[in-house]
């Protein structure tokens, strides 16, 4: 394993590599088609190099532990807005997640629907391409249209276009209050309609999820609001009023710790952490979610399901080897947890239509002409 401790060393390691490299941060997100190659670790590039709470910006080495970043922000009453998932329990991995890994996978949690994905918080990157060149794009300011936006391209490229060495992020103040409207007992279809009504309201919802089998095995729909105390109580009441027509048993949770625990449960897909089978993450038009799940249920009774993003993000746990894409739907599916057999037999990432695949392939050939950075990971 190579663990360079400076950007220059990392660039030299890539330039000098004779064969494939497996790029690794904390190693907590073992996702993608299996990659053979020497491990190149970013953990040597660690530390927050700039943090301006008054400008809501933070710059850190790619190998900085996520926990360190979260602690640094928490000390100033701030946080990462996009709520990155912790994959460890779901994937059975250990170790410490790095911010570079979060960005490389564009890890976006429940707040995606309100504040955007990880890529929307990403202001700039420094990275080493497959030729060993140290490059930068974007910067540390909130608005930047100077040249092409490779920042977005690098987010979610899973180390296949370059090795991130430094990321700069927009951060967010932790709101003073939080509340969650809970509805017990809705069908998937009614829950989707309720979430859609909440998200189509003026109440600035920051999370909308539905678990057909919640913590206590009952269907549970969750609508989160965050902000000033006066806002949260007002909005929770308004939402409860507006959502009453969907039926179910309604309550409002105002205990901040309980709300946080509930949303961590959603974010980390706790309902699928136990048991066997493959876990897929599907992004669809929200109103298509329940239809897709109904078709899957017809094939596999007892399926575990979790809806986030107002129904647009569907997590399913299916028997090993199931190809959820055979149902054909608009959107995309990613195999997040799969047996080695499934990972070898089914594409982990959604295959792209031919013209897009050609563009992606063309970009890979430019960024990594020798094909040494996580080759094949994304298919």
């Amino acid at each position: 394993m190579m663990t360079p401790s400076t950007e220059v060393e990392l660039a030299e390691a890539v330039a000098g590599a004779q064969s494939a490299l497996r790029i690794q941060g904390g190693g907590t997100r073992d996702i993608g088609a299996p990659v053979q190659g020497a491990v190149l670790s970013t953990t040597g590039l660690s530390g927050v190099s700039l943090y301006e709470p008054g400008a809501l910006t933070l710059v850190a080495g790619a190998g900085t532990p996520l926990e360190e970043i979260e602690a640094t922000l928490a000390a100033e009453g701030q946080r990462l807005a996009f709520e990155p998932m912790d994959h460890r329990a779901l994937l059975g991995t250990a170790g410490t997640s790095t911010i570079g890994g979060v960005v490389a996978g564009n890890m976006s949690g429940p707040r995606r629907i309100q504040v955007g994905a990880c890529r929307d918080s990403l202001l700039g990157v420094r990275f080493v391409d497959g030729a060993g060149r140290l490059l930068k794009n974007g910067g540390r300011v909130m608005k930047n249209v100077t040249g092409y936006d490779l920042v977005k391209l690098m987010a979610g490229s899973w180390g296949t276009l370059g090795v991130l060495t430094e990321v700069s992020l927009k951060v967010q103040a932790v709101p003073e209050a939080v509340g969650c409207v809970l509805i017990n007992g809705l069908s998937d279809v009614d829950a989707a309609a309720a979430m859609s009504a909440a998200l189509g309201s003026p109440y600035d919802v920051s999370g909308a999820a539905h678990a057909p089998s919640g913590v206590d095995r009952h269907p549970m729909t969750m609508i989160r609001i965050e902000g000033l105390e006066a806002s949260v109580s007002y909005r929770a009441a308004k939402l409860a009023e507006a959502l009453a027509k969907f039926g179910g048993e309604m309550s409002v949770e105002r205990d901040a710790d309980k709300v946080a625990a509930g949303w961590a449960w959603v974010r980390d897909v706790a309902v699928m952490q136990c048991g066997s089978g493959d876990v897929w993450r599907m992004s669809v038009k929200p109103s298509d979610g329940p239809k897709l799940v109904e078709k899957l249920r017809a094939l596999h009774a007892g399926l575990h399901v979790l809806y986030d993003w107002g129904g647009g993000l569907v997590w399913v746990q299916v028997p090993e080897g199931t190809d959820v894409r055979s149902l054909s739907f608009e959107g995309h599916a990613t195999l997040i947890r799969g047996s080695s057999k499934t990972r070898a037999s089914l594409p982990v990432f959604q295959p792209e239509p031919a013209p897009l695949a050609a563009l992606s392939q063309g970009l890979r050939a430019k960024f990594d002409p020798r094909g040494i950075l996580n080759p094949g990971l994304m298919g």
């Binding site: 929307d120 103040a173 695949a357």
Partner: protein, 479 residues
């Protein structure tokens, strides 16, 4: 402004190119008359003009594809155009280019409130996207000041922002999918009614690519329900430093207004004379707007005003009616017009870290004295996106050049303090040659290699964004 020498072969075969375009488009969609094409000789950066070889106004994605196939086969450069309001010369033609305007493509294709998106043809103006959903309580958030005129096509190409992007983000954060035609004439679908992508984020790189990667014909845009209400407050301070500090304190306190706008004394004076909004005579002025129900607005403003009071404001004016709100915004909204009354002006849009605001404003003041040109500052303070307006006299020989040199110094200053050349207007031709101040040659090379992939012959808007010297080898190889 240096532009590449027009390709003589292309100029020589104008008749054939026009004939081929006429074969694939209805007769009124091809404009080749030398006088008529002058309507397309510039965008809002009017200091630079060049009539194109011809202009085409297709009405559908299929027609766009047909045009591009012809241009690709004939190796004719194509300059995509929305409404032509670019301030960076993004849609300025070259003499050997075809202007491809999407102005006839204005349809709403689908509106879906349940899933909160609208799909439109990209010639539709920004404001009329909101207009299409307004009666049902929804809106499209990015709101460039040019929103009455500018098209979604240009917004996507420039990744445009607006006064309210502090809360809602810029175009890229609100764009879910596009239909794009490649230079080869192939129609590709990227993204859609779902979020994010299963592969590389091609949508992310297309947004902001200034018409150099493909022609975007349709777009899926995120729409939101309108807030219950909005209310601005106006604050006057006796120094830029103090106003800057106040902005930073508001943000640090965890309150996220939808807009924080900043005006300095020269700009306040000019707008007062022009619009008479009743602004206080002070060094710096902030307009802070918050949203929500009445009660929520009260709660937020109470915090914001408490912070402002710790900075000894010379004026604090809270709006108590729609009329007063409009008056508070009046001066800000007429700032460009007011400066234009005094003289010709050049509008910059470098972005800086908010913490550098006082220093940068002081340096701009010093440079203003050195150059002997007045400058007013009006900008989005919450995100550090500055808009220095440099006044000059276009009729005075040498003044434009002086103004450009002053502007370049300001933009270099923005980069020096950790910012960038452009926050929302784009590079176009205007800032093309300054790119080397922000990026090293290899940083530009990797960007240009993205264009190599999408447009190997470098026919789409080829003389923009990258310094001509940087792109020369590629443009030559493609010819």
């Amino acid at each position: 402004m240096d532009m590449p020498t027009p390709n003589p072969e292309v100029l020589a075969k104008k008749a054939r190119i026009v004939a081929r375009l006429n074969e694939v488009l209805p007769p009124d969609a091809v404009i080749s008359d030398e006088v008529e094409v002058r309507a397309y000789e510039c965008d809002a950066l009017t200091a630079y003009r060049c009539p194109p070889l011809a202009a085409v106004l297709p009405a559908s994605t299929e027609e766009v594809a047909a045009v591009l196939k012809v241009c690709h086969a004939e190796s004719v450069p194509v300059v995509p155009r929305g409404a032509g309001t670019s301030l960076a010369g993004g849609s300025m033609p070259t003499a050997d280019s075809i202007i491809l305007g999407v102005a006839r493509m204005t349809e709403v294709i689908e509106t879906d409130y349940e899933n909160r998106f609208i799909r439109v043809q990209t010639g539709r103006t920004n404001l009329s996207v909101s207009g299409a959903v307004e009666a049902d309580g929804f809106f499209y958030a990015p709101d460039p000041s040019s929103q009455l005129a500018c098209a979604i096509a240009g917004n996507i190409a420039m990744n445009s922002g607006g006064a309210h992007c502090l809360k809602y983000g810029v175009t890229t954060n609100n764009l879910m999918g596009v239909t794009m035609v490649t230079m080869e004439g192939e129609v590709v679908e990227i993204g859609g009614a779902h979020l994010d992508t299963g592969g590389l984020d091609l949508l992310g790189v297309i947004c902001g690519s200034e018409g150099q990667l493909g022609v975007v014909t349709e777009a899926t845009l995120r729409i939101l329900h309108k807030p219950e209400g909005a209310r601005p407050v106006l604050m006057g301070f006796d120094s830029n430093e103090v106003a800057g500090q106040c902005v930073s304190d508001i943000i640090k306190a965890g309150i996220l207004p939808v807009a924080i706008e900043f005006m300095d004394r020269p700009c306040i004076r000019a707008t007062e004379a022009f619009a008479g909004a009743g602004y206080p005579d002070c060094e710096a002025l902030l307009i802070v707007e918050v949203e929500g129900s009445d009660g929520e607005i009260d709660a937020q403003l109470e915090r914001i005003l408490a912070i402002a009071r710790t900075h000894n404001p010379v004026e604090l004016r809270e709006s108590t009616s729609a009329d007063e709100s409009a008056r508070i915004w009046l001066g800000r909204k007429s700032a460009f017009g007011a400066m234009g009354q005094i003289n010709d002006y050049m509008c910059l849009d470098g972005t800086i870290p908010v913490s550098q605001l006082p220093y940068v404003l002081r340096r701009i003041g010093e440079l203003s004295t050195d150059y002997g040109l007045d400058v007013g500052n009006v900008f989005h303070a919450g995100d550090g996106n500055m808009h220095p307006l440099i006044l000059f006299d276009a009729n005075k020989p040498g003044d434009l050049e002086k103004c450009e040199a002053f502007g370049a110094d300001i933009l270099r200053l923005c980069v020096e303090v950790g910012g960038c050349l452009t926050g929302e207007h784009g590079v176009g031709i205007e800032k093309r040659d300054l790119m080397v101040d922000q990026y090293l040659p290899e940083d530009l090379d990797i960007q240009m290699s993205v264009k190599d992939v999408f447009d190997p012959k470098w026919l789409l808007n080829p003389a923009k964004v990258f310094p001509l010297a940087s792109s020369e080898a590629r443009r030559m190889a493609a010819e």
